[in-house]
Structures are given as structure tokens and as C-alpha cells.
Amino acid sequence: MNAGDEQQQVDSPIEQQTRSLLLASAEQLPWAVRSRLTQARHAALQVRDARRHHRLQRWAPAGAVAAAALALLVVLGPHRTRPAAVPVANGALEDIDLLSSDVPLNVDQDVNYEFYEWAVDEASTAPRGGAAAGAGTASSRM
């Protein structure tokens, strides 16, 4: 018979008797021993509570700092991390829109053509000598 087969017969007489004897002895412990065990149990539970409290105290500052950092990241993060707008690119897009639209471009609305026409007339009708004299007068004054 090997160990596995023996293990199948858990409740052999000697095993039953030893178990019942030991269980009875555990139930009939002296009062002093039971009291000491109760004290030990309470001490163990107090240690558990103390360690839990200590762990909370130890991690509370770190948690507060982490929460503050997270809040700062949430508040400030998107503005800093968002890519800046590129004016050139935006302008190029507007140009493409303008060029591709069917509406005719009104590019000369701000140009003063009358001034240019007057200037051309003045330049063509004015005597050359006058201009040269004016220029010479101006140079003699200097």
C-alpha cells in the first residue's frame, strides 16, 4: 500500500481516536491559556488596524501631491500641448478657397486709378527743361 492509498483511508481507527483526543484537549484548555490566546488575538487585530492607519498616513501626502499634479495637468495641459495654429497654412487654405470659388475676384476695388492717370498725364505734358530747371534749382539750393 502506498501513501496515496493510505490517504484514501482517512478515518482509520487510530486516526479517529487521535483526532477526537486532540480536539477534546483543545476544547478543555485551562482558563489562563484561553485568556492568553484571547489577548494575543486582540493584539494581532490591533496591529492590523495600526498598520492600516499607518499605511494611510504614509501614503496620504503622496496621494495629495499626485492629485494636485493631476489637477494641474488637466487644467493647464491641453493649452500647452495643443499644436499652435500656422497662419501661413491658414492663409494658403483661404487662397485656395478664393481661387477655386466661382465668384469673380474684385482685386482692384482699393486701387486709385485716377491718381495714376493724372500722374502719367503730368509727366507727359510737363516741359523737360522745367523739370531740369526745377531739378537744378533744387540742387543749387543745396
Binding site: 501513501a3 493510505e6 487510530i14 487521535t18 494575543a40 494581532a44
Partner: protein, 205 residues
């Protein structure tokens, strides 16, 4: 962000706090119930292994403290094997200290008899309680014989027998407590039963 705000607004924080406190209290109650359930058996296991009441109480208290401090957050079903592993480690520590002390004392023959009173005979301890009825006396004698037989077993056999037979751990739990394979547990247990059967043959019915 909006989801978090919604979650916070929809969650009742005092309720969360109460639930957390309730969880802590439940955990403490479960641990206390566990310790109350194992403390007597643990004491008897330690007492039989060490044959010394004060040392047995010390190792049980150490095991309780260590379980509570280090493993209370583990699932409750893991507590028993862990507790008995700690207990067996403490028992072994005490036995090693005794061995070292005995070796040192053996080198100093003029102090040889000083600590003899620390080893308490289980029979004498059983009889120290004053006059007992004859039936109780007979039972105590049987128990004392059983304790002597158990104490005479090799450590691993005694551990396997006490954890399996007395504490009621299954093979897997005993293997965790003894930090060995399940096959080893079965072997140790089988040999322990064989040895006890030889020594306590009169127990057989």
C-alpha cells in the same frame, strides 16, 4: 473629464465612505473569527511540538501577529495555510534556538541543570491540575501517551499528521503550510500514521 464629473456628481461620497468602513470592519471581523477558530488548535500543535506551554503561547502569538500584519489583505481562504506555515516556522526557530542553547550548555557542565525545569513533561503537566476523577485520569494518561508519541515523530511527519488529521487541512493546504509538494505530504502523513500505529497499538479498537 466630463464623465468623471458626472460620475462624481452621481456618486454619494458618504455612501462610499460608509461602504469602505463597512468593508474594513468586515475584514476585521473575518480575521478575528479566523484567529478565534484556529488559536486553540494552533496552541496544541505548538505545545506538542515544543512541549512547553509558554513557548507555545509565544509562537502562536507571533504567528497571529505576523498573519495580521502581513497577510490580512490576502483572501480569507489563504489564511489558514499561511498561518500554519508561519506557526511551523516559529516552532522550528524555537527548536533551533534550543538546540544551539543545549550545545552551548553542554560545553558548560557547571550550568547543566539550570534550565531543566523549562522542559515540562506532558504527563506531569496533565497531572498538575490537582485531583482528577479516575476516568479523566485515564483519559489524561492516554492523551499524554499520544503527545509523547507525536513529539517523538520527525518534525515533517508530525506537521503533516497534525495539519491533516487534527487541523483538518486538505492535502493542498497542508502542502502550502509545509512548503512542500502534495506527494511529500502524503508520504509524511502515511509514515506518521504507521509510526503512531506501532507506538499506540493499544488505541486500536
Amino acid at each position: 473629464m466630463a464623465g468623471f464629473a458626472t460620475l462624481v456628481s452621481q456618486t454619494d461620497l458618504p455612501t462610499l465612505r460608509k461602504a469602505h468602513l463597512r468593508e474594513i470592519q468586515d475584514g476585521a471581523r473575518a480575521l478575528e473569527a479566523f484567529l478565534a477558530g484556529v488559536e486553540r488548535k494552533a496552541f496544541r500543535i505548538a505545545q506538542i511540538a515544543l512541549r512547553h506551554e509558554a513557548d507555545a503561547l509565544d509562537v502562536v502569538q507571533d504567528a497571529m501577529l505576523q498573519l495580521s500584519a502581513r497577510y490580512a489583505s490576502r483572501p480569507a481562504e489563504e489564511w489558514k495555510p499561511l498561518f500554519y506555515r508561519i506557526l511551523e516556522n516559529r516552532i522550528r526557530d524555537v527548536q533551533r534556538r534550543r538546540n544551539v542553547r543545549n550545545r552551548v550548555m553542554a560545553l558548560m557542565p557547571w550550568r547543566g541543570g539550570e534550565d531543566e525545569d523549562e522542559t515540562v513533561d506532558a504527563v506531569a503537566q496533565a497531572l498538575d491540575g490537582g485531583p482528577t476523577p479516575p476516568v479523566q485520569l485515564e483519559s489524561d494518561e492516554i492523551l499524554a501517551a499520544l503527545e509523547r508519541a507525536l513529539a517523538a515523530l520527525p518534525n515533517r511527519q508530525r506537521q503533516a499528521f497534525m495539519l491533516r488529521n487534527f487541523e483538518g487541512l486538505d492535502v493542498a493546504g497542508t502542502a502550502v503550510a509545509m512548503k512542500c509538494s502534495q506527494g511529500s505530504v502524503k508520504t509524511h502523513y502515511f509514515r506518521a500514521v504507521q509510526a503512531l500505529r506501532v507506538k499506540l497499538g493499544e488505541f486500536r479498537t
